[in-house]
Structure formats: C-alpha cells, structure tokens
Amino acid sequence: MKRHLFYSIIFLLVSGLMLNSCNKESFELNRLSDEIELQSSLVAPLIYGSMMVGDIVELVDSADSFYEFDDGLIYLAYMDTLVEIMADTMVEVPNKLVTEIYIDSDVNIPVWIDSSPGDTVPFYKSELFSFTLEGDDRVDSVLIKGGEIILDVMSSFKHTGVLTISSSQILDVDRDTFSTVVEISDLSGNFTDQQIFLSDGYSMQSTEIDDTSYIQLNFKLDLINSGNPIDPDDVCEILTSFENLDFYSVFGYIDSRDLIDESGSVDIPIFTDNPDLATLIFADPRINIYTASSVGIPFEITFDSVIATADDGSTEKLEFYEGHPFVIAAPDMENIGSTVDDEININKETSNFNELLAIAPSTLSYKVTGRTDPGSGDESHFLLDTSKFMLAMEFLLPLDFKSSGFALQETFDFEVGADGVDTTILKEARVSVTTLNELPIEMEIQVYLLDSNRTVIDSVFEGDAIILGASLVDDRGILTQAVEETTVTTFPVEKLGKLQEVFYMQFEARMITSELGGKFVKIYSDYSLDFKLSMYANFRINSRELN
C-alpha cells in the first residue's frame, strides 16, 4: 500500500514536470519584447473665459477714440476744438480814463465877495466823462479789476480850504459811494496834493446820454477866506485818472461783430484702417457741435464748408438741410457766471451726412465763422473776465448699425515652438468650441496658419469657416437672447505636424448683423462673448517611437 501510494505520487510529480517542460518557453523572459504601446483617449476641458465688448474696445482703442454713453452704448468719436476765445479778446475795454476840471475865478461870486475873512464859502462843480467802448457798444456798469484812481490836486488860491470829490456812480469795495477829501492847507498859492486809490473791486455805473455812457464826478470846494484876494489866474485844478483798468465784469450792450473765423480738419482713421466699414449703415451717425459759453452774448455760428475726403481723393461736401447757421445760446442775467452748454447735432436727417460716410472719409475739413448778437433783440449783455466761448466738433458714430457683410482681418504672432506638437504621441485632437454670444453679429471665422514668409500653409478649420451665430435683438436692436453655438474641429495628425512651421496666425472674420443684416443692432459695452474650449484627443504612445 505504502509503495503504491509513494509511486503514485512520484508518477504525478514526474508527469507534471514533463508537462511543465512544454510550458517552459512561456517563462523565457529573454524572449520578452520590451515594446509597449498605449492607445487611449482623453477628454478634458481646456480653457474658458469671457470677453466683454467694453474690454475689447479698451484694448484695441489705441487712439482713444471709443467711448460709451451712459447706457453703455459704445460709440466712436473723433473730436476737435474749433474755437476757444476769451472775453478779453471780444471787447476792448479802455484801461485808462482821464478827466481834468478847473475851479477858477468863477468863485468870485457875490457870496465870496461878501464873505469876511474866516468865512467858508462852498463852490460846486460836476464833470461828466464818457465811458465808451467801440461801435455801438454800450457800457452800463463795470466791476473794476486792478488799477488805480489817481487824484492830482493843485491850488493857486491863496486860501485854505477843503476839496471834496465824489461820485454816486462809483462805488468802492464796500459798495459805498466814492468820496474823498483833500485838505488845502497852503496859503501860498502853491498847493499840490495827490491821492491814489486802488480801484480793485470798485464799480462804475454809467449813465447813457444820447447813446453815450457817462460817469459823473462831483467836486465841492470849501474855500476859507484868508483875506487874500483871488486873482483872475487862481485856479484849483483836479486831474482824475483811472489807470491800468481791467474789469471783472462788464454789463451793457455789445454790438454785433465778427469774432470767429477758423478752419481745420478732423482725422477719421477708422475708415483708413478698415475701408470695408464703409459698407456699414449706421442708424444715427452724427457730427456734434458742442458749445460752451459763459459769455453773456448770443453767438451765431456758420459752417462755410465741411468737406469729407477719402483716401482715394474723393470728396463729399456736407449740406445742411435745416437749422444752419446755428445760434448758440448764452447765459442770461439770471445766470451770470454760469456756462451754458449746447449741443447741435448734424445728422442724416438734417444733412447729407450718410453721403459723407459712404465714401469712407479719412478726414473732415471745415471752415467756421461766427459773430456775436445775431439779432436777438436782447441788448442786455455781459462779459466776465472769465467768460469764454468754446466750440468743438465731434465726428460720432454710435455702434448702432446694420451690415449684410463686412470683414475684419488681423495677423498675430503665433509660434508653437521648435519642437511643435509631439505627433509621435498625439494622433488626433478634436477641439470643441462652445460660445455664448451676446453680440448681435454673426461671425464667420477662419484662421489661417502662416509660415515665416507669411505664406498660408493651412487653415485651422477644415473647409468652411466656423460660424458664431448672432444674438437675438428686439426692434430697438437691443439684446434679447444670447446664442450658444458649439463647433467641433478636428486636428488630424497631419495638421498637428504643420504647427511646427507656423509663425503667424491670420484671423479673418466676416460679420453680418442679426437677421441677415436687415435690422439695426446696438453694441453695448457689457455685451460679452463667453467661450469654452474642450478637447477630445487620441494618443498612441509607443515606447520605440519615443526619443
């Protein structure tokens, strides 16, 4: 029994070993191939982001030409200041007034003759001196800025006395009537005196007599009888001078006169850079004339010639249908010191502005003239020393437009690097681009790959360009619904291999506004283009193909 059992076991073991010898080659690891290959795929989100129109505009607006209205509507504007004049160049106010009066032998009046030594006898005299501007200008009042009032008094009377000079039309800084006294204390007949008053803050209110403005000065000489006689040549001479006058304000009437005669031009580079934009039809293109006046005189502005000139030399003259010349409002007496801003819109309703845009102008030349008081009938004018009249022109294109097709093209540097994409590993990539477009513009995009000579070697998107649908807008052209699009682009290994040669990418976009360009659309700064890129990639990694 033992022997049988023992032999049975030995038999089994020997049989197993014999069988095992048949499998031995399966364990000969020196025959094992070291080649390893993995073929796998990978899905992954790549990048995502959002671009706001306002941010895009800010980035590309190197010329600082894009702005936005309070509601966020973006507009393109090119501005130029046409006229800027100060009050002191409008009206010439005399800086010196002089009047001289004499109190002489007229004093030998019975009262003096009957007086006894020691008696005081008053003598009165008034003098009007004119305060005139030019032409038919009229000055009602002036608030004096700087200067002096100089009184030179000389008396040859051999009497003492008191000379009082006053004017109810001259007010000092305290708004008190101007009055001053000169003590004549010299009996020798050689009395002289000079008084100087700083006139800053003084005001003068004129009286109009026969279309001439006058200021009246009053003189009172209290002569104390010294017992000496009065010779026929005795006189008290008073020279009144207003020197170095300037003014804070002048009230009155400034007669109509030509003040403005300017010419110049405004550059409009947008059309030079993108002539295709001439195909855009803008809903509300404008030339805005901005005025700012703190001069209390109405103006009338005339644009003698506004001519648009394109790069090809073609020109188009702006014709006004209505409202021209333009009367510029001025602050009234209730708003002295304030500035009245006014805006005049020259648009396609009031002019042939669309015809100017149609030639894709690169410059807009102009000649502007202006005159005061275009016959408003109001003769209450004023000027302040700070009064200014400013006239500016703005060529303005609100991004409210429609187009059945315009194109933009831009070339960027793009280098993957000398190593390119490792096509020994990456065999195919499918990039999915999902966009959520709030822009009411359908974009047909193609990206070309260029070599170092800027020669096109391939396009990113096979066949037709990818299309990003336009958002939906209401009748006012305002966004109602963004549009989401997903485009899948396949990059086979052949195309991935070309990336090594790429030095530039040329981006081309053909754009059509919503509803095939049949509706005006507005572009607001908060419109965004959200994008999301994800990838499906096929890899094949073979150990023998790796470097």
Binding site: L19, N20, L29, L32, S33, A44, I47, G49, N542
Partner: protein, 488 residues
C-alpha cells in the same frame, strides 16, 4: 536629482526595506497544511492542534520558511504570453497584446498580496498541562490594492461622462516581529482547545487608512473627490518638514541605507510599536471518523507610535478648464506664459490639499483569518478534508475553499493532495509531503504546486511552506478509535 525625486527614491527605499524584511523567504500559511499530518507547525493554523511528538525544535529560519504571492484577479498569462505571429513573448501592453482581455480579468478591486514569515525560534513540547509552543517570527504583511477603474483610466483614457471609482486604491505594508506562546489542551477525549497569545513589535508600517477617490471626466468638467489618508511609522527614517509643512527630505538611517550588516537588529522588538494578538482554535470529534475544527488567527492589532507620520488628501475639486482672459495676453505675457502660470497655480492648488501631520498614533488590526474545517477518516491512515478559509483584509474579504486527501504511512512519510478554489480560479492542485528520518523532520507543502507544474501560466497564487525540525518523542499514530486524532 531634484528634491522630490530624492524624497521619492528614499520613500521607495523605505518601502523596499519593509518588503525586504520578509527575506529570507516568502511565506504564508497555505491551506493544505491544515490537514497535513506530521507537521509540527500545523498548530500555527489551528492552535488546538497538538503535534504528534513530545518535543520539536525548529531550525532557525527554516522552521518554517513560508512564501505566498497571490493576486485575486491576475495570473502570469494575463500579463505575459506568446506573440500571436512571432516567436517571442509579449506583455499585454504590446501593440499585439490584448488589453481588453487584461481588463476583463480584473475585479472591481484587485489586490496583490504577499505575506512573508520567517521563524527564528520555533519550539513545542508536551506536558501534562497540555502542549506548549513558543515561536519568534518576523512577519511582513503586504497588500497592494488597485481598482479596475484605475486600469481602465490608464489603458483606455478618460472617457466622456465616465466616473472612475478608485476607492480602495492603496497599499498596506507592515513588518513586525511576533513573539508567541501557544497552549493546546484536551478538555475531553474528543475536544481540544488551543490558544496562542502574541506580542507584536512593529518594525515599520505604511497603511492606507482611508481610500475614497473618484474621478469623473467629461469635456465639460473633471471632478475629483478624494478622501485619502495614509499613516506610516518609519522608525528607521527621519522625515524632515519644511516651513509649509510639506516633506522636504527623508533621511534613512545610514546603516540601513548602506545595507550594513547588523543594522536591522536595533529595529527589531521595537516597544515603541507594540501590539497584541491571539489565535484560537477548537477541534471536536463528534464521532471517531469525523473531526470538526474551527480556528481564528491574528485577532489583534499593533499600535504604531514610533516616528508616525500621517498624510491626508481630502478635497472636492472641479476642474472646468483654465480660465483665460485673452485680453490679458501681450508680448510680455504670452499664451505659453499663461499656461505655465496657470498649471503652476493649479498644481499648487492641488498640492495644497495634501497635508502632512507628524506625530500621533494609530492602530491597525492584523488581517484576521477564519478557518472552518471538517475531515473524515476513512481509515486511520487516510482521511479526506474540506476547509473554508476567510481572510478579512482591510478592503476586502477573501474566501477560499480547499478539499484534500491526506495519507500517512506512519512516522516515515505523510502525504497530502489538495484542491483549492480561490480567487475565482478553479485549477489549484496542491501537494505536500513530510518525511521523518530519525529526529529530523522535513516537509514541503503547497496549495498549488501541481498546477504550478501543469498550468504555471494560469497560476494566480504561489505558495510554499518548507520546514525542518528536530522531533523527539514521536508517537505512533493510534488506531482510529484511539485517543489521538491522526492529523492533529
């Protein structure tokens, strides 16, 4: 070599060290030994078992030398096989390899388990108070876990709308010394009980304490959910942290790193990492021909306290792509710069979830095993047995069934043939023998030695139990109706 590579290499060295501590032999309990007559160390499987002698003394290291390497899903032929057209071998990763066939073999959670045990001292002796055993064993328990979805992710890639459940991924590596004292006693003529108490001294450990990880991939989003925690006790290394709390360097004991002899002994019987465990067993013979038995091994734990470090990685991360503002790009900040910058930020962000905590303690239970067996004695020399073995691993429960035929000729030779169903593999044919020449006892047993001979490419596990003892006071087996059972 950069810092991370340096740390990685040292970490790898540390892991390797734990694994190498298993030398000189790979060993683990096999099932065939359960019913194997004439093997003194069979009481390792069932503490109630009393060897058929008065005294045995195991040869150091060889009493026993045991090895097992197993996978619950993969065999050699799933990884390496003949080229379909050429005279060469290829792996499943070869262009002509069948990756899908490889994936088909995988279970939701796969493991590679290796246990290593070497007994330095193994002594047993019989007294009136019962049979006593004393063993000193160095053990290394190793288990690597990888989910099926990890292989799917690596081999097929990240698919649209796929969720890859990577729960359970990780490794558990423990090296420890076991000092055990066993006692078996016959309470009744037909009832034996046994118990073995064990003191455990941890040498080193790396344990995946929590492993919840999933990755969902799509073109829209990648979602990563992670709740991972790894604890380690590395008494033979100094882990240096930087100001940010990240590991800056791992300095392995120089003597260990230079593999100097006698470097290891200072890490054995490390009271800093102590634990306790117990084995229990019962043999019951309701009738003379039938023996029923139950044993549970490794009921216990080790409390790891020495040079403990904890790493956690808890996060819920949604990756929806790199946010790009094209308007920020310029000549000074190109797209390439942006990608570099963003990936760097993303890497930092992902790394920020990784937290290291030095110090602390953790407990880790041993992989408990439960045996339930029955054997029927046709004659005193021949019996047939069936055995159920359940392994309670950290992440899984592993079940095996073994049937065996056991023969004894008396003292000289004992034989066993076994069949085991394990890891969904049905062709496990095992055999074992035990010889006694004078006091010298020699045995070699395996659960799958025969299929290793007949179908070696299909084997999902290999185990071998080899031992050499000096046996004294050998008892002749009794008649079937005698006092002692044949195999216990």
């Amino acid at each position: 070599m950069n810092v991370s590579m340096k740390i990685f290499s040292r970490f790898t060295f540390g892991m390797g060290l734990i694994v190498c501590l298993s030398l000189p032999g790979w060993s683990q309990i096999n099932n065939s030994v359960y019913f194997m007559p004439g093997v003194p160390q069979a009481n390792r499987v069932n503490p109630a078992h009393q060897p058929n002698c008065e005294l045995y003394i195991g040869f150091p290291v060889l009493a026993p030398m045991r090895m097992e390497l197993s996978s619950n899903s993969l065999s050699y032929k799933d990884i390496i096989y003949e080229h379909p057209f050429h005279d060469s071998l290829i792996t499943f990763l070869h262009p002509e390899g069948d990756k899908q066939a490889f994936l088909n073999q995988l279970k939701p959670l796969n493991n590679i388990v290796a246990d290593v045990r070497a007994s330095l001292i193994s002594v047993g002796f019989n007294t009136k108070a019962g049979f006593f055993t004393f063993d000193v064993t160095t053990r290394v328990d190793e288990a690597l876990y990888f989910p099926e979805d990890l292989a799917n992710l690596l081999l097929k890639g990240a698919g649209e709308g796929q969720t890859y459940q990577l729960d359970g991924i990780g490794a558990n590596l423990s090296a420890f010394d076991e000092l055990s004292l066993g006692w078996s006693y016959s309470i009744l003529d037909n009832l034996q009980v046994g118990v073995r108490g064990k003191m455990l001294f941890g040498i080193g450990d790396i344990s995946t304490m929590r492993s919840n990880l999933s990755i969902t991939t799509s073109q829209e989003e990648w979602n990563i959910q992670s709740d991972m925690m790894v604890s380690a006790s590395l008494p033979f290394a100094e882990v240096i942290y930087n100001e940010d709390g990240m590991i800056e360097d791992i300095v392995i004991d120089e003597e260990i790193e230079s593999l100097k002899p006698f470097a290891l002994p200072k890490y054995v019987f490390n009271f800093g990492n102590s634990g306790f465990a117990a084995d229990v067993g019962i043999n019951y013979r309701p009738i003379d021909q039938l023996l029923l038995s139950v044993s549970a091994l490794d009921i216990g734990f080790i409390s790891w306290k020495d040079e403990v470090h904890e790493a956690t990685y808890e996060m819920a991360y949604d990756y929806v792509g790199l946010e790009l503002d094209p308007l920020e790009l310029s000549d000074d900040f190109s797209f390439g710069d942006y990608i570099d910058s963003t990936f760097s930020q993303m890497g930092d962000s992902l790394a920020s979830f990784l937290e290291f905590t030095p110090g602390g303690t953790y407990s880790k239970r041993l992989n408990t095993k439960l045996y339930v067996g029955a054997s029927y004695f046709v004659t005193p020399k021949i019996n047939f047995g069936i055995l159920s073995r359940t392994d309670f691993l950290r992440e899984q429960i592993s079940q095996q069934f073994t049937a065996s035929a056991n023969f004894t000729t008396g003292r000289f030779i004992n034989l066993t043939l076994s069949y085991t169903y394990r890891n969904s593999y049905v062709k496990n044919l095992g055999a074992g023998f035990s010889f006694n020449v004078g006091p010298l006892n020699l045995y070699m047993i395996s659960d799958n030695s025969l299929n290793a001979l007949f179908w070696p490419q299909e084997a999902r596990s290999v185990n071998l139990w080899f031992g050499m003892n000096l046996v004294f006071g050998y008892k002749q087996f009794q008649k079937v109706d005698g006092d002692r059972p044949l195999v216990y």
